[in-house]
Symmetry: C2
Subunit: 242 residues, 2 copies
């Protein structure tokens, strides 16, 4: 849990924004409920109402709350809006934010590729693959269950890296000198199976995204296949069409 | 049901491709099952095996089948791959194809906007909206349940058009001289409710896409809000990330 640092911290309104954001994500303020009033919040944090108002403005901008005349401030769907307009990466996007981002390694092993993997990663049957299964956490809440397949010759030794705290894309680019060019992604709706629901801590019959992403290096060489189960109650995708 | 036209029809292999495609979409050939052999198909259509082979090649290219050594030709997931890289429209995309495309109007009415609609369509509370609910059909199979909201002043009288056979975007552009600039789209996974499942003819607990699309004319004026329930067993979205 975050709390306001009055000494040499970030501007109060930004700190308070993040504290409130955390409360929304953790369901302290449930969806559709009323936010405490500006006066109540000002008292709690011992700041002016203007500071609270600025914090609320920030939350409004990221789509977490809205105001209704005569009612007050209401908690909106706490979904992370994931833009499909550029190469997104959970680990990278939130890395520099003050959110507590991490991964739990569920399994990692070296495997012989199946026919499907041979086709998708364009490797021959003699190429070993690293299979890395991670649960991605945001403020300690499980958000995405991710299975990565990386050809051994692309990143020898990546399986022994600190995969709980490091982004695979960062490792590929900075340590293994793989220049990532683009990714092709397929998105499907699905109902989480019992294992997925258990790991993601969601009710048994929950809608999730299933995505399959092939990441290509220069020359269109596939360097990773990633299958993700993404919580539907926490994420929505956004795109612009022309 | 299509059948082969031997007189002045399209090339045999293309006609056969479409007949087989229809069978896959209609579950005559279920997913993961084996396709009849080339010889069997050649006999059925009374053409050469080369013609059959060319038809199968086409089906392979659109991702409906694949070949496994020693087994034969297998039916893949019959999902329509919907690219998010450009402004897609079910009615427009398949209009010129030989597929049987149509809509069933479920309801249409003039309504007073709710607060949510006022905000999303940027209208005032005095602007009436047309609400048009359509079931989109592909070869007579229900694929998408779509609810459109259009401000009356954008397209006076659109509610009386032939909405079973015409694309709303085409009507807006050609008849009502609305220049569509872009659309903003949100995509979420969801479990179809009983009404949606009934109309879409899918089992009760089925995963579907829920999309919300705001279409903007020049000057960023919202001209339509469209909420769609898209069958998850028939569609997947595709995008490229850079």
């Amino acid at each position: 849990m975050k709390s306001l640092i009055k000494e040499k911290g970030a501007p109060y309104y930004l700190q308070i924004k993040e504290i409130l954001e955390e409360r929304i994500f953790n369901n302290v303020y449930p969806v559709n409920s009323l936010m405490p009033s500006e006066t109540t919040l000002a008292e709690e944090f011992d700041v002016t109402r203007t500071t609270i108002r600025n914090a609320l403005k920030e939350l409004k901008n990221v789509g977490l709350i809205y105001t209704e005349k005569g009612k007050g401030t209401i908690i909106k769907s706490p979904k992370i809006e994931q833009s499909l307009l550029n190469f997104y990466s959970f680990g990278r996007e939130f890395k520099d934010s003050s959110h507590n981002i991490g991964s739990k390694v569920i399994s990692k092993e070296k495997i012989v590729p199946t026919l499907d993997l041979i086709e998708k990663l364009q490797v021959d049957e003699k190429t070993s693959l690293f299979k890395i299964e991670r649960l991605r956490l945001f403020n300690n809440i499980p958000m995405i269950l991710e299975t990565s397949y990386i050809p051994e010759d692309v990143a020898q030794g990546i399986i022994d890296e600190d995969l709980e705290n490091k982004s695979i894309y960062d490792l590929l680019e900075w340590k293994y000198k793989v220049k990532i060019a683009k990714a092709q992604e397929y998105i499907e709706p699905k109902i989480a199976n019992v294992i997925e629901a258990g790991l993601l801590e969601i009710p048994k019959i929950s809608p999730v995204f299933y995505t399959e992403r092939i990441t290509l290096a220069a020359g269109n060489k596939p360097v990773e296949l990633r299958m993700s189960i993404i919580r539907g109650d926490k994420f929505k995708f956004y795109t612009e069409l022309y």
